[in-house]
C-alpha cells in the first residue's frame, strides 16, 4: 500500500476515534503540515456525515414482539418434535406400510411377479430351437420314443434324457454322455417289419412331422437359457403310439409275433392321442437359466423360424460360395449349445418353491425334477405287460441252475451238478465226469497216428468203428448243417472221407518228422567255437 493511502486509512480511523493516543499524535502532526491530508480528512468527515444523515433508522415495529411470541407459544413443540422426527417418521412409515399391506396383501407379490416377469423377459429373448428338424434322423426319433433320449449336438456327446424317479415324478436330464441306445435300432425295426418302399415313405413322413414338432419343444438362447416344453413327454408317448400303430398296420403278423401284448393297440386311440398332443395349446415352458429355474408361458413362432430357415436354404441353393459361407456362419451362430457351466452348478441348491422344481447338477449332468408340473397324462398300452410275458417265458430258465467245479490239472474226476426247480418239486442231477489227461492223450494219439492203418470196408476209431447202439443214437443228432447223419451208409461214406484225410495228415507228419531229425543231426555236427 502506498504511504499516502496508509495515511488516508489512518485518517479514516482517526475520524472514527479508533487510533491509539500515539497514532493520534502522529497523524495530527502530519495533518498540521500536510494540506492533502487536511483535505482528505474534510472529505471523509463529509462522507461520514452524509452517511449518518442519509440513513434513517427503521421505525419501531409495534407488532414484532407480539408476532414473535405468538409464534413461539403456538409452536414451541416444533423444536422439541424435531428431535423426534426420525423416530416418529420411521414409526409412521412402518404403521403406514403395515396398514397398506394389510389391505393390499398381494402388493409385495405383485412386485416380485413384476421383477420375475422382467427377468423372464430377459431370458426369453432370442430363443431358438436346440434341435433342428433337419438334424434329427429317424433313428434319433425312434430312440427318443423307446429310450427317452435325444441327442443335443451333432457329435451326440450331449443328450437330454426324460425319466421318472421311483415315486413316479418326471424329470429331465441334460448330460454329456453318448447315447446308450444301441446301434441301428431303426434299421432293425424296418427289417423286422419288412416294410415296402411305399410304407417306408409313409413312415418317413410321420417321423418328419414329429421332427418339426420336437424342434419347438427345446429352445435355447445365447444367455445359456434352456426352455423345455412339458409337451415333450407327451410327444414321446405319441411317437411310441404312432410307431406301434404304424407297425401293426404295416405288418400285422410280425407285429403280433413280436409284441403280442401291444397287438391290441387300436389305431383310432392312437389318432386321438396324437391329435391331443399336437393340438395342445399349452405354451408353458420350463426355463433353466444360469441363475433361476421357472415356468413361464412362451410362444415360439415355429412358422416364422421355419420361414427364416427356408430363406437361408434358398440362398444356399443359389450356389454362391459366399452365400454358402454366410449361411454356414448364420447357421453356426444360430445354433447355440447348452453349456453345463459353473453358474448352472450353483443352481443346484435352488429349488423352485412355487413349482416344486428341483435341480441337481455337476459338470456332466443337470437333472431337473418337475414334480408338480402338470403333464397331461396320455394312456399308452402298458409296456410292463410285455415285460410280464417275457418274465413268464423265462421263468423256466430262471429255475435252472448248474454248478461246475474248478478245473485242476492234477484231478481227473469232476462232479457236475444240475438243479431244476419246478413250481412243485426240485430235481438234482449229479454227473461224475472223468476227464483224461489232455497231454497224455495228445502223446498217445501221436503214437497211434504212426501205427494208423486204413481199414477197408468198415469204418471205426483205431480202424474199427463198431456198428452198435451208438450209431443208432446218431439218428437223433442234428448237426449244424441241419442234415441228419442217421443213415449208416452215409455215415460210412463220411468216415471214409475222414480216413483219407487222416492218411494224408499222417504222411505229412512223417515228412515233417524226418526234416526235424535232419536239422538235429546237423546241429550236432557243428564244431565248437574257439574263444
Amino acid at each position: 500500500m502506498k504511504r499516502i493511502d496508509k495515511d488516508f486509512e489512518m485518517l479514516s480511523s482517526y475520524l472514527d476515534g479508533e487510533l491509539s493516543p500515539d497514532d493520534v499524535k502522529k497523524i495530527e502532526e502530519k495533518i498540521s503540515y500536510t494540506i492533502e491530508l487536511r483535505n482528505k480528512l474534510n472529505e471523509l468527515k463529509k462522507l461520514k456525515e452524509l452517511t449518518k444523515t442519509s440513513i434513517k433508522r427503521l421505525p419501531e415495529s409495534p407488532y414484532f414482539e407480539t408476532r414473535l411470541f405468538a409464534y413461539l407459544e403456538e409452536k414451541p413443540y416444533r423444536y422439541k418434535i424435531k428431535k423426534w422426527f426420525p423416530v416418529i417418521g420411521v414409526t409412521v412409515l412402518t404403521i403406514t406400510i403395515m396398514f397398506f399391506l394389510k389391505f393390499n396383501p398381494g402388493f409385495i407379490e405383485e412386485i416380485f411377479e413384476e421383477q420375475k416377469s422382467n427377468l423372464a423377459g430377459f431370458y426369453k429373448e432370442n430363443l431358438k430351437p436346440l434341435l433342428f428338424a433337419a438334424d434329427l434322423s429317424n433313428e434319433d426319433i425312434f430312440n427318443f420314443a423307446f429310450y427317452n433320449q435325444l441327442p443335443l449336438n451333432e457329435s451326440k456327446s450331449q443328450i437330454i434324457q426324460l425319466g421318472s424317479d421311483p415315486s413316479g415324478n418326471e424329470y429331465f436330464e441334460i448330460k454329456t454322455v453318448s447315447l446308450n441306445t444301441g446301434e441301428n435300432n431303426f434299421e432293425k425295426f424296418i427289417e423286422t417289419l419288412d416294410l415296402s418302399d411305399k410304407q417306408l415313405v409313409q413312415y418317413d413322413s410321420i417321423m418328419n412331422s414329429y421332427a418339426e414338432a420336437l424342434q419347438s419343444q427345446i429352445l435355447i438362447n445365447d444367455k445359456n437359457t434352456v426352455a423345455i416344453s412339458p409337451k415333450l413327454w407327451n410327444y414321446q408317448k405319441a411317437i411310441v403310439a404312432d410307431i406301434l400303430s404304424f407297425a401293426k398296420s404295416s405288418n400285422e403278423k410280425v407285429f403280433a409275433d413280436v409284441m403280442p401284448v401291444l397287438y391290441k393297440v387300436q389305431s383310432p386311440v392312437v389318432e386321438q392321442i396324437v391329435h391331443a398332443v399336437k393340438s395342445s395349446k399349452d405354451n408353458d415352458y420350463i426355463f433353466l437359466t444360469p441363475d433361476s429355474l421357472f415356468i413361464e408361458s412362451f410362444e415360439f413362432d415355429a412358422d416364422e423360424f421355419n420361414k427364416e430357415m427356408e430363406i437361408a436354404r434358398k440362398e444356399m441353393k443359389q450356389g454362391l460360395e459366399e452365400m454358402k459361407k454366410n449361411h454356414k456362419e448364420m447357421r453356426e451362430s444360430d445354433i447355440i449349445r447348452f453349456k453345463l457351466d459353473s453358474a448352472l452348478i450353483n443352481l443346484k441348491k435352488v429349488t423352485h418353491a412355487d413349482n416344486n422344481i428341483g435341480i441337481y447338477s455337476d459338470s456332466n449332468i443337470c437333472r431337473v425334477h418337475i414334480d408338480k408340473i402338470e403333464i397331461p397324462n396320455i394312456e399308452l398300452p402298458d409296456m410292463d405287460d410285455l415285460n410280464e410275458i417275457i418274465n413268464e417265458a423265462t421263468k423256466q430258465i430262471k429255475s435252472f441252475s448248474f454248478t461246475f467245479p474248478k478245473l485242476d490239472k492234477r484231478i481227473h474226476k469232476y462232479d457236475y451238478k444240475i438243479r431244476i426247480d419246478d413250481s412243485s418239486s426240485t430235481y438234482n442231477y449229479n454227473f461224475d465226469v472223468e476227464i483224461p489227461n489232455v497231454d497224455s492223450i495228445i502223446e498217445n494219439e501221436m503214437k497211434n497216428l504212426e501205427n494208423f492203418n486204413l481199414p477197408h470196408g468198415k469204418a471205426g476209431w483205431n480202424g474199427v468203428i463198431p456198428n452198435d447202439s451208438l450209431i443208432e443214437w446218431f439218428n437223433f443228432f442234428k448237426n449244424d448243417d441241419s442234415t441228419y447223419v442217421g443213415n449208416p451208409k452215409q455215415f460210412e461214406f463220411k468216415m471214409k472221407e475222414f480216413e483219407e484225410q487222416m492218411q494224408k495228415f499222417k504222411e505229412e507228419m512223417e515228412k515233417l518228422k524226418k526234416e526235424i531229425r535232419k536239422d538235429t543231426v546237423k546241429v550236432k555236427q557243428k564244431k565248437p567255437v574257439e574263444i
Partner: protein, 198 residues
C-alpha cells in the same frame, strides 16, 4: 418532638440492585424462567432489526429475518457459554442470517430474468432524487462486506472491536474495509457533487 423528627438525618438505605443485565436474564432462562426471553427480545429487537435493515436494504423483509434471529436465539440460548457479550453473539447470528438471506436472493436472481429498467451502476442514480436517497442508493451499491462494517460504525456506533466480533474478522480488516467503503462511496457519489453541495 416533631421538630426533632423533621431534622432527623436519613441514613442511606442499601440499594437493592435488580440484576437485570443480559447474563442474569440468560441464567434465569436456563434455570427455567422463560419469561426473561421477552425482556431480552424487547431490549435488543430494534438493534437487530436495524442491523438487518442496514445489511439487506430491504425493509419489508426485516421482521421476517429478525424473527428467525430470535427463534435461533431461543433454541440455542440454553447452550450459551458466557464467553462473550450476549450482544456480540446476537449480532453475529443476525449478520449470518442476513448473509444467508442475501445468498438465497443471489441464487434466486440467477433464475429470474434481469429487468431492462434495472440499474447497473452508480451512473444510473436518477437526477431528481434528494440527497439522502442518493446516498442510500450509493451505499446499497457497496459490496456487503464493505457496507456492513461502515454502517455498523457510522449508524450503529459500533467500535471496530465490536464490528470485528460481529462479522468474525480481525480489527485491522474492519479498519481497512471501512476506509475502502468510504473510498467506494466517494467514487459512486462523485458525479453528484453538485447536488450534494447544494
Amino acid at each position: 418532638m416533631s421538630f426533632k423528627r423533621k431534622n432527623k438525618v436519613l441514613q442511606p438505605q442499601p440499594r437493592i440492585l435488580e440484576i437485570n443485565d443480559d447474563f442474569s436474564l440468560i441464567k434465569r432462562f436456563i434455570e427455567g424462567d422463560e419469561s426473561t426471553f421477552k425482556t431480552l427480545v424487547h431490549r435488543h429487537k430494534e438493534k437487530v432489526r436495524n442491523i438487518i435493515y442496514l445489511t439487506i436494504s430491504s425493509p419489508e423483509e426485516v421482521d421476517d429475518i429478525a424473527q428467525e434471529v430470535f427463534i435461533t436465539v431461543y433454541k440455542n440460548l440454553k447452550s450459551f457459554r458466557f464467553e462473550s457479550q450476549f450482544t456480540t453473539w446476537l449480532y453475529r447470528i443476525t449478520v449470518n442470517k442476513c448473509k444467508d438471506h442475501l445468498r438465497k436472493m443471489k441464487t434466486r436472481s440467477i433464475f429470474v430474468p434481469v429487468k431492462e429498467t434495472e440499474d447497473h451502476g452508480y451512473n444510473h442514480l436518477t437526477e431528481d432524487m434528494d440527497v439522502p436517497a442518493i446516498v442510500q442508493k450509493a451505499i446499497s451499491k457497496l459490496p456487503e462486506k464493505l457496507r456492513t462494517p461502515l454502517l455498523l460504525k457510522d449508524i450503529e456506533g459500533f467500535s471496530y472491536q465490536e464490528i470485528a466480533d460481529t462479522i468474525q474478522c480481525e480489527v485491522g480488516t474492519v479498519k481497512s474495509r471501512i476506509f475502502r467503503a468510504r473510498e467506494g462511496l466517494r467514487n459512486i457519489l462523485k458525479p453528484y457533487e453538485g447536488e450534494l453541495k447544494a
